[in-house]
Symmetry: C2
Subunit: 428 residues, 2 copies
Amino acid sequence: MAAYNELSKEELLELKNDLETQFKEVKAQNLKLDMSRGKPSTEQLNLSMGMMDVLKSDSDLVCEEGVDCRNYGVLDGIKEAKQLLADMMEVPKDNIVIFGNSSLNIMYDTIARSMTHGVMGSTPWCKLDKVKFLCPVPGYDRHFAITEYFGIEMINVPMTPTGPDMDIVEKLVSSDPAIKGIWCVPKYSNPQGITYSDETVHRFAKLNPAAEDFRIFWDNAYGIHHLYEDKQDYLLEILMECKKEGHPDMVYKFASTSKISFPGSGIGAIAASDANLADIRKQMKIQTIGHDKLNQLRHARYFKDIHGMVQHMKKHADIMRPKFDIVLETLEKELGGLEIGSWMAPRGGYFISFDAMEGCAKAIVAKAKEAGLIMTNAGATFPYGKDPKDSNIRIAPSYPTVEELKVAAKIFVLSVKLVSIDKILEQK
Amino acid sequence: MAAYNELSKEELLELKNDLETQFKEVKAQNLKLDMSRGKPSTEQLNLSMGMMDVLKSDSDLVCEEGVDCRNYGVLDGIKEAKQLLADMMEVPKDNIVIFGNSSLNIMYDTIARSMTHGVMGSTPWCKLDKVKFLCPVPGYDRHFAITEYFGIEMINVPMTPTGPDMDIVEKLVSSDPAIKGIWCVPKYSNPQGITYSDETVHRFAKLNPAAEDFRIFWDNAYGIHHLYEDKQDYLLEILMECKKEGHPDMVYKFASTSKISFPGSGIGAIAASDANLADIRKQMKIQTIGHDKLNQLRHARYFKDIHGMVQHMKKHADIMRPKFDIVLETLEKELGGLEIGSWMAPRGGYFISFDAMEGCAKAIVAKAKEAGLIMTNAGATFPYGKDPKDSNIRIAPSYPTVEELKVAAKIFVLSVKLVSIDKILEQK
């Protein structure tokens, strides 16, 4: 089909008329559809139900340290959970600390600690006039919410197909000592599904920050969350790369089992250098007597080892793949060639990122809502909720069923078409 | 027996000789005993083993809100867990927020948030020249560790048999705007086992703080942790008392099920006024997507309601009571009338507090260690680990068996006697 902006005004009006009829029909169905959140489906949750039977009243609840997991003790994670998550995060098990059920909480705590106590002896950030973070965009709204909550100024860095624009990152990080960190989702990124290239990771490891307490916040949330057996992305391991470049302390790596076992009841972890972990443990021993070891034991015994976890993730992929496929097929079929939007086909993760024509994202999300389809708020993928081009929309296909997604994807493309036509007509 | 300081030098030396023989005998046994930590015994943990079978792979895991507890959702606690912990904490269920497995972590977070964001709109504490906390002594070392970690100046307030010396508390709180809080364990206090009297609670509720962001940190850790059926302490409910006095926002109340279900895997909660909770939720929604709802559900279904929990606590009491009895009997029998130490018989909680002659606590703990008995470090019950009189020793009888406690208590009194004799001889 021809690009919309090559159509005449009359053709566009006629097309609009036809699309509006379709839109009215779907609206009349009073649907309730939701593509707003990266939430596993019930079918996915059911994959891990065996976990509920791993620990019973007659189970031995002693972990490898010889500690009764029901009682106090073992501050930073039981050995078997450390081994499992270390393998998942591709780091030595001595470079990992296990926390509670949420890696977001670890990231929050990391920023909070830096605010009040600095980083490995540096000036507490709350004592500084200005603290800044680099934010590759589009990105994850909850990252941006943390830095916003602490009054940290956020600077947008555009994403490219190989990761953040490293020319900009290098220039800013090496020149401005107020820049203390950068938020990264390096694999199957939220929302674009981009995996940082080897060169990008190398350039990260080689950064020469103006601030001694600059840290890369490497949220590897989707490290083993592939969609395909045969097409998988590979990401260089950042801790090792930083170590090789003589910057062992420059990175914190985060991950959790939220989208492997249960989102509400997984286990989260941080991986970092010995020196960083020593700094973290200093706080941790004040903050808690230790996290839930029974849940750690439950995870370790259920998955057994990283191989078990990888096998488990194939079952997730089998559920997720058709959902991504239906959305991507619909986008391709309905919007291909129209030049009113662009997207990438990710090989893993939880999202598809859609870039509409400038100034159209909010209107598209509103239009979809009219027909009963909830999308992530336009702007959510940018700091302060402000997409300067009002263009990016995050599509989360995980939670609805395939049947629901067929309809949802149709409503979405209809909304894109209608809003885009109006936009083009405005300009004609 | 006569008081030691009434004995002649010769009598004391003879006595010492005899005690040293006894000490050598016990030392020769190479014992390994530990009365240092308020840690439930294995027998107590076994009481809750049924909890491991409550949620199985065929269980309905939907909570009262209609939310699947395995997935994301429900920020501040599922309804049934809120009801259970609200009843446990004697507050309305709307005045409670459920957190993770540790109330200590909630207290830490509360202080951390006050440092970076202030309290209900007040100036962040990190922006102030000086922040001070009142610390009733002896008290809980982990409270003091939090305030020390944040550089908060701690001011000792002596405990009396009815709670902190309220004359001092009132005077300081009403005159010094740098005083932002006071640590309280109001029932079966750590370590003395004191329950604040009605008058003390009233005087707390009537405080007129110089600082608008002054808060009472009311750690009701042992609210239902009685030792006896017939002798129980009652504590006025502080939230209601503060509300009556027109100070609804002046208190945070903390509790957890750590010493009810499992220390490592319980659930913790904060209770406070609507306005305080709104302030807390503002942070919470940035910090986490929610805590472990499956564990909340597990607790709610296992205990069913507060009556179930109270019945459960009677089983704990049956295990704890003989342990307290053996220690108290030994103290009474071996030290009664000697005037070399004093203690109180608590009706609940986890500790017995022993006050040795001035300048003797460290030496007693060291002496006990010689014979293989680990006690809590002398000084631990005071801010900065400094007991100005070097007198207080915390005894934790929960973890060892009754048989072990018989020996441990003997070693302890032997150590007290030997160190005290040396002290008295010095002075003669």
